[in-house]
């Protein structure tokens, strides 16, 4: 019986080819949407301008990059992906793609690529803006903030996939994404550093999903720990182990939950 199947299961090369095929089509779709392109370039520039004008406590150069990182991950990556996944599901695009050789994770990743690209571009634009304004200071470490960006983006993908299970239409994503958006903006250290909270409260809040992203970015870019102490490279890494573990844990759990609850077709 098995001889009727010519080729064995294909490992990575096939997967990369398939994801790239889908990703380039999705990127083409994004580039055809001029409003979306302009918005995604304008937003980070406005953020740099606005935060400087308002003068939030996080307004210093590198601190602004930290804020931009968190804001982009939640408002762009997470929100965009929930609406995209839901829209594609309701249009029956996901179900059709599942009839081919693409696997489920490949479909989600390929669909997410344009959003992930815009995420990186936006954070880079903010960093560039800060540098142009002459407010850039040499970071303590760049690997931790990069990990915060990359793993943070992966976390947003799985959380977005999981969130589609309770989001019936692309429009209702405005409401269903609120819990994460609220938690992220108020108690994850994004606009108000967790060091502003009592130590016991901060000790709990650092285990929320977006908190380790902010914590890692602050460690690397500002050399500042959760309780406001200044550290060097070694100190940043030893303080970074807990948030790295928390971030990895959320991503893993998010992935498992997403795999369980994700629906490929509209509810009938």
């Amino acid at each position: 019986m098995t001889t009727t199947l010519a080729a064995p299961a294909r490992p990575a090369p096939g997967a990369r080819r398939r994801v790239l095929a889908l990703a380039s089509a999705e990127t083409r779709l994004l580039l055809r949407n001029r409003t979306a392109v302009v918005n995604s370039l304008l937003m980070p520039l406005l953020l740099v301008a606005a935060v400087r004008m308002i003068g939030l406590p996080t307004a210093g150069g590198p601190a602004l990059v930290v804020t931009a990182l968190g804001v982009t991950l939640v408002f762009l990556t997470y929100y965009n992906l929930v609406t995209t996944f839901v829209a594609r599901r309701e249009e029956l695009v996901l179900q059709r793609m599942r009839t081919g050789e693409l696997t489920g994770p490949e479909i989600l990743l390929g669909t997410a690529v344009p959003t992930l690209l815009v995420t990186v571009v936006q954070v880079a634009l903010v960093a560039l803006g800060v540098a142009v304004l002459g407010e850039w200071t040499a970071p303590v470490d760049v690997v931790l903030p990069l990990l915060a960006l990359v793993v943070g983006a992966a976390l947003m993908v799985v959380l977005a996939a999981a969130s589609t299970s309770f989001t019936r239409t692309a429009e209702s994503a405005q409401i269903t994404t609120l819990p994460l958006v609220l938690v992220a903006t108020s108690v994850s250290g994004l606009f108000f550093p967790l060091s502003a909270f009592p130590a016991e409260v901060a000790g709990v809040l650092r285990f929320l999903p977006l908190s380790p992203v902010v914590e890692l970015a602050r460690l690397g870019l500002l050399g500042e720990t959760l309780d406001g102490q200044t550290v060097d490279l070694a100190g940043a890494w030893s303080a970074g182990l807990v948030p790295l573990a928390v971030l990895a844990g959320w991503t893993l759990v998010g992935g498992l939950v997403a795999a369980r609850v994700f629906r490929w077709a509209p509810r009938r």
Binding site: L5, A9, L92
Partner: protein
């Protein structure tokens, strides 16, 4: 009649290879509702099976298991000897699926859509050739959202056929197509079958089943109530003889196997043995010099058989 025991089509010699599709006692349940209630069938390479039934008969629910998109709640499905869901990577390479409803991003052109799909496949057909086959060459640079319904369906079909599938699952392939497009699709499918593909399709067009299928399985309320070649299915219903008879004609003889369902002047007879019945009738008419006005004799059609079982309410045992 059990569908898996139905004879293969005569043109194909008994195949030593295993069936391309093997479905045994398949069940699908949604909560308390059982949409598919234990159906079994086989499809061999080079063969077309049509699942015929009214809407809600369970055809799509059954196909979703073959496509690997859903788990059965009972029974088993093998495609090329593998489980379409658990051995997904092995099966998908050789499986072409046309969903009843499916979506495509509207802002890609036809050519971009097909090229993208081709790049996700192991051994795709050339894009130009695939578009030419379905008559979409002239529409290659048109955005998908600007296509007509029929053009969309042909594009869907292009994608389903692009990977040179050995097993093809088509859920209502020609619904919404104009007659010419429908012919195009039939020709395409027949070409694939001639090259050895195994095809399972659903339809509620009897003409499509007659045109394409080697074997037909009629589904009703989640069960296969009738299966066989179209001739075998038609034979489950009696043939009909009609004629008019003058009032002064002698009484009709009693012919074995014949039932009289309408009396003179417009006589209607039913029989499962048309030729002997007709011979007896004509012999009697000649002997008695009786004129059988407007004489008609015809075997039962697939449509008659379908209507008799597919839409009959109540007792499934009647089939």
């Amino acid at each position: 009649m059990h569908p898996s025991h139905a004879p293969a089509r005569p043109a194909v010699p008994p195949a030593p290879e295993p069936p391309a599709v093997e479905v045994v006692d398949l069940r699908r349940r949604y909560g308390a509702f059982e949409a598919v209630r234990g159906i079994s069938f086989e499809v061999h390479p080079g063969e077309v099976l049509a699942l015929l039934g009214v809407n809600g008969a369970g055809k799509t629910s059954a196909l979703e298991v073959l496509e690997g998109l859903a788990s059965p709640s009972g029974g088993s499905v093998r495609v090329l000897g593998r489980d379409p869901q658990h051995d997904r990577a092995d099966v998908r390479r050789h499986l072409g699926v046309l969903l009843q409803h499916s979506g495509l991003p509207g802002d890609l052109t036809v050519a971009e859509t097909v090229t993208t799909w081709a790049r996700t496949l192991t051994d795709p057909r050339p894009v130009d050739e695939a578009l030419a086959q379905v008559g979409l060459t002239g529409r290659a640079d048109v955005r998908v959202r600007s296509l007509s319904g029929g053009e969309r369906r042909r594009l869907d079909l292009t994608l389903a056929l692009l990977g040179r599938p050995r097993v093809l699952v088509l859920d209502e392939p020609t619904t919404g197509l104009d007659p010419e497009s429908r012919r195009t699709v039939w020709t395409l499918v027949r070409g694939l079958v001639d090259d050895g593909a195994a095809v399972v399709l659903t339809t509620h067009h009897l003409e499509e089943a007659e045109e394409l299928a080697d074997r037909i399985a009629v589904m009703r309320a989640g069960e296969i109530v009738l299966a066989g070649t179209r001739e075998e299915i038609a034979e489950t219903q009696p043939a009909t003889i009609r004629f008019t008879l003058a009032d002064d004609a002698p009484p009709l003889p009693a012919i074995p196997t014949v039932q009289v369902s309408a009396q003179r002047p417009a006589v209607e007879l039913h029989t499962r043995a048309l030729q002997p019945a007709l011979t007896a009738l004509l012999t009697w008419a000649a002997e008695h010099r009786v004129v059988l006005g407007g004489l008609q004799a015809r075997s039962a059609s697939l449509e008659q058989a379908f209507l008799a079982v597919a839409v009959a309410d109540g007792d499934p045992a009647a089939a």
